[in-house]
């Protein structure tokens, strides 16, 4: 259903825009969760159930909450009233972003005719994903596991209070 797709796409993009445009940081984080939820719905539309639910579990359940915690922990530094929320070089950034979008969009539209429009729904069970993870992709899986462990320990050490005597 195309209508549902456009609705969800609009929701996602609106969430993303709100996340980068709003003044209040917590509102930004909540808008980010909307964007994440929209993306998860897009994944579901693409018949990628596992990825969609993983998206919700990881992004909404963990990353958004992490962002919120970070915002509250650094709250004393909220931008003072007078200063804008955008950087001094916002013009350049906007131009770059617009240029990137223009290039990608142009490329997509150029190749639009050659892209497939209709394919059968791929019948992929979670079991297949599991088998693939444990078979063909076992090395990446292990590397990701290592990366996550490293990131966990690293994040704890980075964010940990340094004790005065520890130096």
């Amino acid at each position: 259903m195309s209508f549902v797709f456009w609705l969800v796409a609009a929701l996602t993009v609106a969430g993303g825009l709100a996340a980068v445009l709003l003044k209040n940081l917590v509102h930004c984080a909540l808008a980010l969760t909307v964007a994440f939820a929209g993306l998860a719905m897009l994944f579901l539309q693409l018949d990628a159930q596992f990825a969609g639910f993983a998206q919700i579990l990881v992004y909404i359940g963990a990353v958004a909450i992490l962002v919120v915690f970070a915002i509250l922990l650094t709250r004393s530094s909220e931008t003072p009233k007078g200063a804008g929320i955008f950087s001094r070089t916002w013009g350049a950034g906007l131009v770059i972003a617009a240029a990137v979008f223009a290039v990608i969009g142009w490329a997509v539209l150029q190749s639009g005719a050659g892209l497939p429009h209709e394919t059968g729904v791929p019948s992929v069970s979670v079991q297949q994903i599991g088998n693939a993870l444990m078979g063909r992709y076992v090395l990446p899986l292990e590397i990701v596991a290592l990366l996550l462990t490293a990131a966990l320990i690293g994040a704890v050490i980075v964010a940990m209070h340094e004790k005065d005597g520890a130096k």
């Binding site: 796409a9 964007a35 990881v58 770059i96 394919t119 964010a159």
Partner: protein
């Protein structure tokens, strides 16, 4: 499923641009991280869309890529936010415009 692949790719491109604009223009370090998350997600959408419309969906390549990307993004967010908190503790600000010195 009548939505063509182009639709997904355009949405992903838009989201990526929005994320990039956020990362480049906002002053707050956390907002920059949010922008980066959006860009990663846009890439994920592309991966899933290509997996869905690609010639060999049963090979699961795009799906796997997206799943690993999600895991890596979680790690990235954790470390990134840890860094932001540490910087804030160090410089008492998360305003990137004021972080213009290498020495504390």
């Amino acid at each position: 499923m009548t939505t063509p692949l182009v639709g997904y790719l355009l949405v992903a491109a838009l989201l990526f641009a929005v994320g990039l604009a956020g990362a480049l223009t906002r002053r707050n370090a956390i907002l920059v991280l949010i922008g980066i998350e959006l860009m990663l997600n846009a890439a994920n959408l592309n991966l899933i869309a290509f997996w869905r419309y690609g010639p060999h969906p049963e090979a699961l390549t795009g799906m796997m890529f997206a799943i690993f990307s999600i895991a890596v993004a979680a790690a990235e967010a954790a470390v990134g936010l840890g860094l932001v908190i540490q910087i804030h503790r160090h410089a008492q600000t998360t305003d990137l415009d004021q972080m213009n010195r290498m020495k504390g």
